[in-house]
Amino acid sequence: MTTLLMLAATATAADNEIALELGTIYSDDRSWDAFSSDDVLPSKGLRVGFGVADDVAVIGSYGYGARGADVDLWSTDGEGWFSTAFYGHQLGLGAKVTPLDWRYLRPYVAPQAVALYGVARLDEDTGDDDNLNQIQAAGTAFGGVLNGGLELVLADERRKVVPAAYIELGYGWLTSMQLDDLGDVQFKGLTSRFGLGVHF
């Protein structure tokens, strides 16, 4: 019985966790129009957490997202064309605080410090891998997100590993990312995350 209670405790409040994660971070910066007509950078990645106290876990995350656009240049001299792309690599480190130790549905808050490394690419002929105008620029932005989440954990005292899913909404703010000579772009606003994984 003691063993079962310990297992239940292991897979509840102070769990370790790992999850596949989908996320978005918002940008209403007009510069972002160069890469996406939607005001978000979606990402897919991984989140891991390590329980350090009954209601606190340290979480780290990595997300990768790519957006791109075909660009038309209209003028009296004719039409021009090139492609843009943005690749974002987002690293986060923070805490997940679960104040209410409910059995299955657990609300929590998750503040995270975030670093976003972005790579922009411009290419005026994607069919020619050797053309001179394959332009690449990179930059990094730093900031944070504060999300509130709700997690569903299929807690079962008989199992060491239990499935879990979560959804988060919150606000994120990052510094402007200077993409060399291209200009800068800033991400700030609504963030969301959705994950599927396990607690153990």
Binding site: R30, A34, S36, A66, G68, A69, S75, S83, L132, I135
Partner: protein, 539 residues
């Protein structure tokens, strides 16, 4: 391996598979290939970003070959570039916006861009025109313009620039009431500007070689401006007394001695001559010619009947009359007429000779070499019609772009081949000989080195061809230099180097050193400021 490349490779993000979920539309090109070739490099507008950049041949791998003009004011959009005659100063017409809201609103609403201002009040954005002087890649100074001037005329020495509004270059005029009756005399040494009333719609400005008088041609009048006193005194000489008439200038020039201003006008056989040596009493003389002049050229001191007092000539050709007339300026009479076999519409001044040719598009092939001393004409012949003609720097050769044309019924196979093709005509002005080369496509640019020692060659670009053709003028021997991309224009700059602009949306310019044959490219410059999509407010 670079971790970034590794990360991108792992996620399947090669250059051939860029994500393309979206669509972005921009108005206009990112760069303007109508560059200004100054002594220190090429100056180019980036219309989308609102930047002015200078391109130079890269010096080493770390040199991108371009930089933004220093101290260029944020928010100023360069709109038209001009180059002073000495090649040292670039004049850039520009415009910038201000937000005409009270300071409190601007501070409270954090208005920093044109877009912010438009959100607050769509009528609060006001655009201003200015003229920016640039030298050695740095902004020298700015002159505010109270009129939307768009072009500049320079005197030969490059000490004065005259800004005026050319209606041929205008789509729309901003402002409720525009007064196009002024020109702006700018002292390029000091940057001081003086406004001078010059009549309605000034359309051309000429200077005497002595630099003491400028002549501004406006609708139905000519204004003579005295330059030596610094007060810019003017005298007006109407070209017609009938207000219902419209006298439109076709061609104009000032005699080398600075005494006469001569002009031809549309649909008139008269040559208008104004004595500007006595500017306080302008008096037109009209000399009736045999037909409506097509071109006019003034020639200095070439008549040697009196070696101590060589006379100046005015040479006139006609589009529908096969003759050339030579008028001795000293007497304004005594027209010498030389008969031609075909009319000539254009005149170029070669070395001690004049080159006469026809670009009307009619079926004329003759090119004439007129010796105004001997009053003789030698005939050369182009295989096809002449579209344009350029003289080599030493003015001993000329290269014409020739257009395709229909063949006569009895044409030989060789003649038909020539007729169906574009070509280059090479004219040796020393011995009045010519030969023509057949081009695979339309020649879109011909350039000579500015170095007279290298004027043995001409460089030609052909439309859609990814190579530069180097033609030896003595025998037409041609070789080709491969290019990175099809070219759009060619020109020379600096100490004899060439530049070539290419078909490219993100920017591509090549620099050719004719002595070594080396070709260096500068690329990607048009992406500067690409995603900065807010328009900064000006001062």
């Amino acid at each position: 391996m670079n971790p970034l490349i590794l990360a991108l490779a792992m996620t399947g993000c090669g250059w051939n598979s860029l994500p393309d979920q979206s669509y972005w539309e921009l108005e206009g090109p990112l760069w303007d290939d109508a560059v200004v070739a100054a002594a220190d490099g090429l100056y180019m507008r980036l219309p989308h970003a609102g930047k002015l950049i200078r391109l130079t041949p890269p010096e080493g791998e770390d040199d991108p070959g371009w930089n933004e003009v220093g101290a260029w004011p944020a928010g100023t959009f360069p709109e038209r570039l001009m180059l002073s005659p000495d090649g040292a100063t670039v004049l850039a017409f520009g415009s910038y916006a201000t937000c005409e809201l009270d300071d409190e609103t601007i501070a409270d609403e954090k208005i920093e861009s044109v877009e912010d201002c438009l959100v607050e009040d769509e009528n609060a954005v006001v655009w201003h025109d200015e003229l920016n002087l640039v030298r050695d890649g740095e902004l020298l100074g700015q002159i505010g313009l109270n009129l939307p001037f768009n072009t500049v005329a320079f005197n030969d020495e490059g000490t004065y620039a005259v800004a005026y509004l050319d209606f041929d270059l205008v789509d729309t005029l901003d402002g409720a009431l525009v007064n196009p009756n002024e020109v702006l005399f700018i002292d390029l040494a000091t940057g001081t500007a003086t406004s001078v009333a010059a009549g309605f719609s000034p359309e051309r400005v000429l200077f005497t070689q002595q630099q003491d008088v400028a002549v501004v041609m406006s609708r139905n009048q000519v204004v003579v401006v005295e330059l030596t006193s610094g007060t810019f005194d003017t005298v007006t000489a109407p070209t017609t007394t009938n207000l219902d008439d419209s006298v439109v200038t076709r061609d104009a020039g000032i005699s080398p001695d600075g005494r006469y201003m001569m002009m031809t006008v549309e649909s008139s056989t008269d040559l208008y001559i104004l004595d500007i040596s006595e500017p306080m009493s302008p008096n037109w003389s009209l000399v009736s010619m045999d037909a409506v002049p097509a071109d006019m050229q003034m020639v200095e001191g070439l008549v040697t009947d009196d070696e101590d007092d060589p006379a100046d000539l005015t040479v006139v050709t006609y589009s529908n009359r096969a003759q050339v007339d030579l008028l001795e300026q000293k007497y304004l009479t005594g027209i010498e007429t030389l008969e031609l076999e075909e009319p000539a519409t254009n005149i170029l001044a070669a070395q001690d000779q004049l080159l006469l040719f026809n670009t009307s598009g009619n079926d004329y092939h003759d090119v004439y070499l007129l010796d105004p001393n001997a009053l003789t004409v030698e005939e050369m012949r182009a295989e096809n019609r002449v579209m344009s003609m350029q003289l080599s720097p030493d003015r001993l050769h000329a290269v014409a772009v020739l257009s395709p044309e229909g063949s006569d019924a009895g044409a030989t196979a060789q003649e038909q081949y020539y007729d169906e093709s574009y070509g280059l005509g090479i004219f040796d002005l020393g011995d009045a000989s010519a030969f023509s080369l057949v081009a695979a496509s339309q020649p879109i640019g011909v350039a000579f080195s500015g170095d007279e020692n290298l004027s043995e060659y001409a460089l030609a670009l052909l439309q859609g061809q990814q190579e530069l053709i180097q033609v030896r003028l003595t025998d037409g021997g041609a070789s080709s230099i491969p290019l990175e991309a099809p070219a759009t224009a060619i020109g020379s700059f600096g100490d004899g180097q060439f530049y070539i602009t290419h078909e490219s949306d993100l920017g591509l310019v090549s620099f050719l050193d004719p002595e070594t044959g080396s070709l260096e490219t500068v690329h990607g410059f048009a992406t500067s400021g690409l995603i900065d999509d807010e328009t900064t407010l000006g001062r």
